[in-house]
């Protein structure tokens, strides 16, 4: 029998609220400790307890992180999805199940093993049986695929933060499961893990915690937030880290945290903080951005800095609240009524979540406008391999703030909204400074901030705002380009698609095509993106939504002669992008274009 090494997918079917997150992370972490390239995806319902949950672990020496096309090892713990889960399993797969669910597994074509996991767990601790039961499948899998005991113990310790009793109880269950599997299973597993040299200094972290840390390094002074999946853990990450990283020796904080009454208020607080000269931020998801839109327009027009993270989920409306999508790009780019445009930073890795976390504040104050962080549920809430966060390589940039009378005297013809330097960015003074105060307003205003409905004044102001944002392009993170010498097919993509792109690229290259990649990391678009399109024969714009929103941005911002070169491949079903689906769609579009 062929044995595959470090190339399989485990799917754990459980119910929400049964504690399987711990057992699944132990599996993930123990393989990670062995140096096996792994990724984990939590597919969870919008529910506290009881609805079905799946956790997908993929091991891949090639470093593929998308959920695979099929399941190699299926774990069945949930009665509600039992038969559907069984139906999907391909012949020859491994099935591990909890006998106490008392449902049959009639698949003679698979390698099947069951244990009365709940009953066994009751023997260890009756009260915790539901949770501990999950540890038995960890033990079974350990036996089958050959997880190293030292790595496993390290993962258990990490999961239970070294709490002695918890570690002991769970290790005992894992060991029991492993021993029973050893004794009873007569077949060989077709999938095994093999230790690899673990990359020095790597660890697993989710994008929300990375962005939270980045925000703290960016000097956030005021976090306002309203709970919404999948962004809550970003705010909670900041709250978790503040006492360790942003308090004085006597325990006084340098960042306020306000749980707002709603997203409208959360946005208002961000504007208030920015107006007063602090670094304010909030985090939310699409529905929150819809609510915040009026304030977003005010920030744009009155030129108030602030940061808002949008961890995208599936829209429209409440949509699929616990599934992933890149559906808010249009919304963020032009949020609010009238002519507006906003800076959107689009990290594709956890390292970039951290980096853009601190940079967002610098951009916001430099350009005196709102800056969005664009993440999604997949990047934000799943664990990714991280090589560590680079300490900020630039000091904090507070932008053009006039802080003293001397500084003011040096500026010829100061006006809050006068373009003194010719770069579209005016100077500002802060409340409390006594320097040239104005009444900030969302109504029309002249260069001194005085109310005005004068046609010329309005038109000139709007054109300056446009110029300000246009000039920002080249200062924002440029694209990450991996280019083939052939310069035939180019794929432009963004954000969490980074985790599937290499697999997509490899599938397409199997057909003999050569594929270059260009990952957009900010809008307005960096000039290098235009150059990438110019250099390539055919360019696909790839994204996780229905309408091709990044494609739309490109169509709008590119010179008209380049527009025919780009084609859209946009697909969204709520799942993290599976490489084969996107690769096939790309091949179809390329075929159509050839005709």
């Amino acid at each position: 029998m062929d044995v595959s090494i470090n190339d399989f997918v485990i799917n754990v079917a459980t119910a929400n609220g049964t504690g399987s997150q711990s057992s699944n992370l132990i599996l993930l972490n123990s393989m990670f400790e062995m140096g096996v390239p792994v990724s984990g995806k939590n597919l969870f319902p919008s529910n506290i307890s009881g609805l079905p949950t799946w956790f997908i672990i993929r091991a891949s020496d090639q470093g593929y992180q998308a959920p695979g096309d099929k399941t190699d090892i299926q774990i069945l713990m949930n009665a509600d999805t039992w038969f559907k889960d069984i139906e999907k399993i391909e012949s020859g797969s491994i099935i591990i199940y909890n006998e106490n669910v008392k449902l049959p597994v009639e698949r003679d074509d698979c390698l099947v093993f069951g244990l009365p996991m709940t009953k066994l767990a009751r023997g260890i601790n009756p009260k915790m049986a539901k949770m501990i039961a999950n540890m038995y499948y960890v033990g079974i899998i350990q036996h089958l695929i050959g997880i190293d005991q030292v790595a496993l113990e390290k993962a258990v310790n990490r999961q239970f933060k070294g709490k002695k009793t918890a570690v002991e109880v769970n290790l005992r269950a894992i060991e029991e499961g492993r021993k029973m599997a050893e004794e009873a299973i007569t077949w060989e597993s077709p999938h095994i893990v093999e230790a690899r040299q673990k990359k020095e200094g790597t660890f697993l972290i989710d994008g929300n915690e990375a962005a939270a840390l980045g925000s703290i390094y960016g000097g956030v002074n005021m976090l306002s937030w309203y709970p919404i999946t999948p962004s809550s853990s970003l705010a909670e990450g900041i709250i978790h880290w503040l006492p360790q990283l942003r308090e004085t020796e006597d325990g006084m904080s340098t960042c306020a945290v306000v749980q707002a009454e709603d997203e409208l208020a959360a946005a208002g607080m961000v504007l208030g903080a920015g107006w007063a000269g602090g670094r304010g931020m909030t985090c939310t998801s699409g529905p929150g951005i819809s609510l915040m839109s009026e304030f977003i327009g005010l920030a744009y027009f009155a030129e108030v800095p602030g940061v808002i993270w949008d961890v995208n989920r599936v829209g429209p409306s409440t949509g699929l609240p616990t599934r992933t999508q890149q559906g808010d790009l249009n919304l963020l780019r032009e949020a609010s009524h009238g002519d507006t445009e906003h800076i959107v930073l689009i990290p594709g890795t956890v390292e970039e979540c951290f980096e853009f976390g601190w940079k967002a504040f610098d951009y916001a104050e430099r350009f005196q406008t709102l800056v969005f962080g664009f993440s999604d549920l997949d990047l934000g809430m799943n664990n990714w391999v991280c090589s560590g966060f680079e300490y900020p390589d630039q000091p904090i940039d507070r932008g053009k703030v006039v802080r003293s009378a001397d500084q003011m005297a040096a500026i010829e013809n100061y006006g809050r909204y006068r373009d003194v330097d010719g770069d579209g960015i005016p100077y500002r003074t802060l409340p409390g400074s006594g320097l040239d105060p104005i009444l900030y307003r969302g109504t029309g205003h002249d260069e001194d901030g005085i109310y005005s409905e004068d046609p010329e004044v309005y038109q000139k102001l709007m054109m300056r705002l446009k110029r300000k944002l246009f000039n920002a392009r080249k200062h924002l993170p440029g694209p990450v380009i991996r280019e083939e010498a052939e310069q035939d097919v180019g794929i432009i993509y963004m954000g969490s698609m980074e985790n599937s792109i290499q697999e997509i690229d490899d599938i397409i290259e199997e057909t003999g095509l050569k594929v270059s990649q260009c990952r957009v990391r900010a809008v307005p678009l960096h000039p290098d993106i235009e150059a990438f399109i110019e250099r390539h024969n055919r360019v696909i714009v790839l994204e996780i939504n229905r309408d091709g929103q990044l494609y739309g941005v490109l169509r709008k911002e590119l010179p008209i002669n380049l527009v025919p070169k780009i084609s859209s491949v946009a697909y969204s079903d709520g799942m993290p992008p599976r490489a084969r689906i996107y690769a096939e769609l790309i091949l179809e579009v390329l075929k159509e274009r050839a005709q």
Partner: protein
């Protein structure tokens, strides 16, 4: 002979507290309130640069352009001045936040933010310039208009009003007062006291709309308020920098309300004893007035025993907006420690 310019306790003339010309209708009650704001800030000797003028949208919210021209301000969006003020207050707790709103702004879209600002005890003065109508959109009823009240044109209002003072008292607001834009002396004293209060101070000022609701059938018309208002007490404000022995003691009963900065609000008892510390007394008095189709004015409720929103945060003394990079960004050494911990 040169004109003698009167200076306040920080040697500033009153002209340092004025603003641009008003674009409201001639005779608007709101302009009188602006005048009182100027007077109160000047008399209290507050440095204009330390004041932050905040507002939402509407006639009242336009007024920050007409007073305190040397103060920064923010004319925000409809009903959401409280949240902007909250954000500003968090990063600069040393400013004096003076919010001006209207009944359209605060009692409808803004009611949630009004409530939550009180719940947090946001350290600000919250003035509601209450005329019962939407002026800028030409006179529609607002949510504070009394049942049966009638504006100049159209049918009378059929819905009961939201009483912002009742609401504030029920929510535990530490300073709640009602006054009338035409009662300059009372309003000035209350405004000065509100500026001396630590925490949320709500003043609901009945301010007749001269254009759309100054007819006799309107319960918020100048004529109606002038005749149908009962003052709970005479009100006088004594600065903390003015020794008590220089103050005239009124005849009859009076009670002194000590304020946060050491100033005193002197309540001269008029007809009945009114216990401003008892929230149920305030609610009862407001209810009785409503039954009698009357307004009562004065300090309705006062309670200082609550931490403010910024005090609750345990923030460093320096306003957060003034912190330097070394206070805002963890050090490189600390960063290495954190990374080592992650790598475990």
């Amino acid at each position: 002979m040169s004109k003698v310019i009167k200076l306040n306790v920080i040697d500033r003339p009153k002209s340092d507290y004025t603003g641009g010309p008003s674009s409201l209708c001639p005779g608007c009650g709101h302009d009188q309130i602006s005048g009182v704001i100027i007077q109160a800030c000047w008399e209290n000797g507050i440095e204009p640069s330390r004041i932050a003028k905040m507002s939402g949208i509407g006639c009242s919210s336009k007024t920050p352009a007409y007073f305190l021209g040397q103060s920064h301000g923010f004319n925000t969006v409809h009903g959401r001045m409280p949240s902007v003020t909250t954000g500003a207050n968090m990063v600069n707790k040393d400013l004096v936040y003076l919010g001006v709103s209207g009944d359209g702004d605060s009692a409808s879209i803004g009611i949630g933010q009004f409530i939550h600002a009180i719940r947090r005890n946001l350290n600000m003065v919250y003035i509601i310039e209450n005329n019962g109508v939407y002026g800028l959109t030409k006179g529609q009823y607002s949510a504070t208009v009394e049942k049966g009240s009638k504006k100049r044109k159209g049918a009378p209002n059929e819905q009961p009003p939201i009483d912002m003072c009742k609401l504030a008292i029920n929510l535990g607001c530490g300073f709640v007062a009602r006054s009338f834009s035409g009662a300059k002396k009372q309003l000035t004293s209350l405004m000065k006291a509100a500026l001396s209060h630590n925490g949320m101070a709500v003043i609901d000022v009945i301010s007749p709309c001269v254009t759309f609701a100054n007819n006799d059938e309107s319960y918020k018309s100048y004529g109606y308020v002038k005749t149908q208002t009962e003052e709970l007490h005479g009100v006088d404000y004594i600065h903390h920098f003015q020794p008590m022995n220089e103050v005239d003691i009124p005849e009859g009963g009076f009670e002194d309300v000590e304020l946060f900065d050491g100033s005193v609000l002197r309540l001269e008892t008029l007809s009945t004893e009114y216990d401003y510390t008892d929230p149920t007394a305030a609610i009862s008095a407001l209810h009785m007035a409503e039954v009698d189709k009357k307004h009562i004015t004065g300090l309705l409720h006062h309670n200082t025993d609550m931490p403010t929103a910024d005090e609750d945060q345990g923030l460093i003394d320096t306003p957060l907006c003034d912190l330097s990079e070394d206070m805002l960004r963890p050090s490189r050494e600390r960063h290495e420690e954190i990374m080592t911990r992650f790598r475990g």
